[in-house]
Symmetry: C2
Subunit: 244 residues, 2 copies
DNA sequence: GATTTAATATTGTATAGATATTAAATCAGA
DNA sequence: TCTGATTTAATATCTATACAATATTAAATC
């Protein structure tokens, strides 16, 4: 096994500038809304021409990580909702968007010792986590059951957050900057516990969404959501030039 | 209603070059693998500097529409599989990747007159279509039932294609260039016909994927796929800098 | 004080030229 | 025929400069 984190130092100058700024954004050092130094200043710090800085910044802008405006300058973009699939963490917004009343109830909320998870191929060691099991409802009809781990190494503030009123998903999108996510989506039959909680028959079809979210290399959260099959669809749109 | 196709002529030179080349790719005039004139030649045809051409081409490359190599030149990329969700059209590849034997059987194959579809909000008028209902199996176990329309206005060659041996999804990815797609994913209970075809119990959970695919403004295909819930998952990965 | 006008900072676009990097093509030598 | 060195075509990067577009700020005017 010869993989010491393969030293992805970029070869070119504009790429170096790009990743340095990107790193500051992803690490949270430059949070959404933070103003990025103007090109002239970056030219001075990196000792290169403005075209080179411009190339780096343009590419970050093309990725949606920053917003640029003439005279107004450049700021870190706030994390946009990526695709409709990622909308699901914000089930509250989805429910309210339809004019229904959103409801949330935490059933379990506890700290868990470090554990190994086997989602995906190899088991990665993850630190302490806060575990929340909750039910989410639309107009008093329970539509989703959620088991969520939030890993405190990545998000230490989560230890003191109050999840009795605010759902952890909502709290996370407000408090944690840029993330990547991996999803597994499947159709399953409701097990007795799910069926009782979601008020459906045992064996009724449910949509299972398992999501693991990262910031950089650290795992932020792992969620397992079970939706009533008759109440929720996922919508996703892709294309070569989608959502740019 | 004042929307005469809002004249999206680009304001800047590099944008103009970009969309002109993009148009040739999306229209199929330059199919996957086609070699694009080198920068020096484009400089001559557009009468601009090489940096300007380079900016246009770099942005197409960043979007994955073209592949560029020093000395080797620039070619149109072949439509890559976008995300694991879009992998599903290529169920054949998925099955064979696991070492299983892929099987395909067309149950219905007919031409249908122009129709209106109501997927999404408003009903768009779509022209004649070829309709194929088929079963896809893994090691002789039926795992997916597919109803597909291919719209002949967008893909006239589809009228003469032979779908007895080759699944229409496979044929499409090979013959139709860049597309966008919209998906709806849901969990449903197997209806009697599905249950009989997929050899499962009536009411068993199934994953439903409805996909509508476009090229430019024309609808290429609309598919409705029902997967055995116990046999298939979807995997999707997203992030600010995913799949670049 | 409100409104218009001018100055200014910042990004966007474009040019011309220099050099570096890569990989295909060609050719020389064994 | 194979191998290895050399040429060469193409993209990649970088610099320096100029001007354009635009939003903010400051000044001037009513």
């Amino acid at each position: 096994m010869h993989d010491h984190a393969p030293d992805h130092r970029p070869q070119t100058l504009h790429a170096r500038i790009r990743v340095e700024i990107e790193a500051r954004i992803l690490s949270g050092e430059w949070p959404p809304g933070h103003r990025i130094p103007p090109e002239t200043e970056l030219v001075a710090t990196y000792g290169c021409s403005r075209m080179t800085v411009n190339k780096a910044m343009s590419s970050l802008a093309a990725e949606g990580l920053i917003l640029r405006n003439r005279r107004a300058g450049t700021v870190v973009a706030r994390p946009r909702i990526h695709s409709a699939i990622l909308n699901i963490p914000d089930i509250r917004a989805k429910v309210e968007e339809r004019g229904a009343t959103y409801g949330y109830l935490a059933l379990t909320d506890e700290l868990r010792p470090p554990c190994c998870v086997h989602l995906g191929s190899e088991g990665h060691h993850l630190g302490r986590s806060r575990f929340i099991r909750s039910v989410h409802s639309s107009d008093a009809l329970p539509v989703m059951l959620e088991d969520r781990h939030i890993f405190l190494d990545a998000v230490p503030q989560a230890e003191r957050a109050d999840f009795r009123a605010e759902p952890p998903g909502t709290w996370l999108v407000a408090h944690v900057p840029w993330t990547e996510a991996e999803h597994r989506i499947a159709a399953i039959a409701a097990e007795p516990l799910m069926a009782r909680t979601l008020e459906i028959a045992v064996g009724a079809p449910c949509l299972l969404v398992e999501r693991r979210t990262w910031r950089g290399t650290e795992t932020v959260t792992i969620v397992r959501q079970v939706f009533r099959g008759d109440a929720f669809d996922l919508i996703a749109r892709f294309g070569p030039n989608s959502e740019r």
